[in-house]
Symmetry: C2
Subunit: 206 residues, 2 copies
């Protein structure tokens, strides 16, 4: 595919470097942008150019933030003794959306993955241990993805935290809400029977 | 979905305004960009900011171009008496990829679509008629998409060009190469029988 303009080619390459965007999609995006007004493009370009300087990560939890401390860590009404460890900020947003959690977070920035060459030292683990050792936490919730890498990281963190005299919990595993049982995989279904809970008419408080 | 940073939110909105990109995908792209080096972001941002000033359309055919006349119109070896009318530059790239066409192009910039409020005056039609009336063309190939809007535009152009004593052709319709006959829709299969061609062992010259 030969693009007749070097500048368009350049921009297509930039868009195509993003995850999930191929050259054809990138070209479609660029052609769409070419039809926009100049102000709009300028605002997009400025917004993009500023991300490295304007956006910082919260010095407490590692969440994205415009200030030194993120809006969650700055809320006094939250339980700062309860720390939920997540992989990235999308997990924070997902948990916040449930409106069921009122503690604070700690963003690891990834999970241990030997295949991708990510070890414990590449993650935001030491600041977590410092928070715990400083007596900041009473309970740490390990809320990493239910994948092999997530489980490995959960286990690593558990080993690091076990001596520090705090409660260590993890997300419950079980059948998803709205799922038909016969479509649930046997591992999940097995766990949900072993870890059955007392029947409760209103398990989710709104 | 509440994004904890206003700047990230802004950039997500910009990405989500692109076709086929929703807010979740946009956030994934922005998080990916946040991990890049500053130089890379700056180059992306500059490339984006420059598209309105650096990229122009060829004054002859409307193709994207870095100069006044595009690389295709500037080639003397091409047959400038043969004009292929296409909807947008992606069609030029598709036809160029076949390596079967050696004429020049004319980009309409869209097709007539009453539903989207696009009439003949919104398209690059008058410059085409001027090129034809100036005696530039011997043959015009109407190569618009095989959709209702494309056919309508083909018909409109045909009516406008019919008096100008040039050959007006269109792309042949028929069974795609590599298709199984029983999967071909009846309209296409019907046309391919009516418009059958003499058997030729090498219909595509390479």
């Amino acid at each position: 595919m030969n693009i007749p303009s070097k500048h368009v080619e350049d921009l297509v390459e930039h868009f195509a470097s993003l995850p999930g965007i191929g050259r054809k999609t990138a070209l479609r995006l660029v052609l769409n942008l070419l039809k926009r007004k100049e102000e709009e493009i300028e605002s997009f370009s400025k917004s993009l150019g500023g991300i490295k300087t304007k956006i910082c990560s919260c010095k407490k939890c590692g969440n994205l933030s415009d200030a030194e401390v993120c809006s969650i860590c700055a809320q006094h009404s939250r339980n700062h003794k309860l720390i939920c460890v997540v992989e990235d900020i999308r997990d924070i947003m997902a948990i916040e959306n449930t409106q069921q959690y009122f503690g604070v977070y700690h963003v690891l920035g990834g999970v241990i993955s030997p295949i991708e060459g990510i070890g414990p030292n590449d993650l935001n683990i030491i600041p977590l241990l410092e928070r715990v050792n400083a007596g900041e936490a009473e309970e740490v919730i390990l809320a990493l993805n239910a994948t092999m890498e997530g489980d490995t990281t959960n286990f690593y963190l558990y080993r690091k935290l076990i001596d520090s005299n705090i409660t260590i919990t993890t997300l419950s595993r079980g059948v998803s809400v709205g799922t038909e049982l016969h479509y649930t995989d046997e591992l999940t279904l097995g766990r949900s029977i072993v870890n059955r809970t007392l029947f409760d008419m209103a398990p989710v408080k709104r």
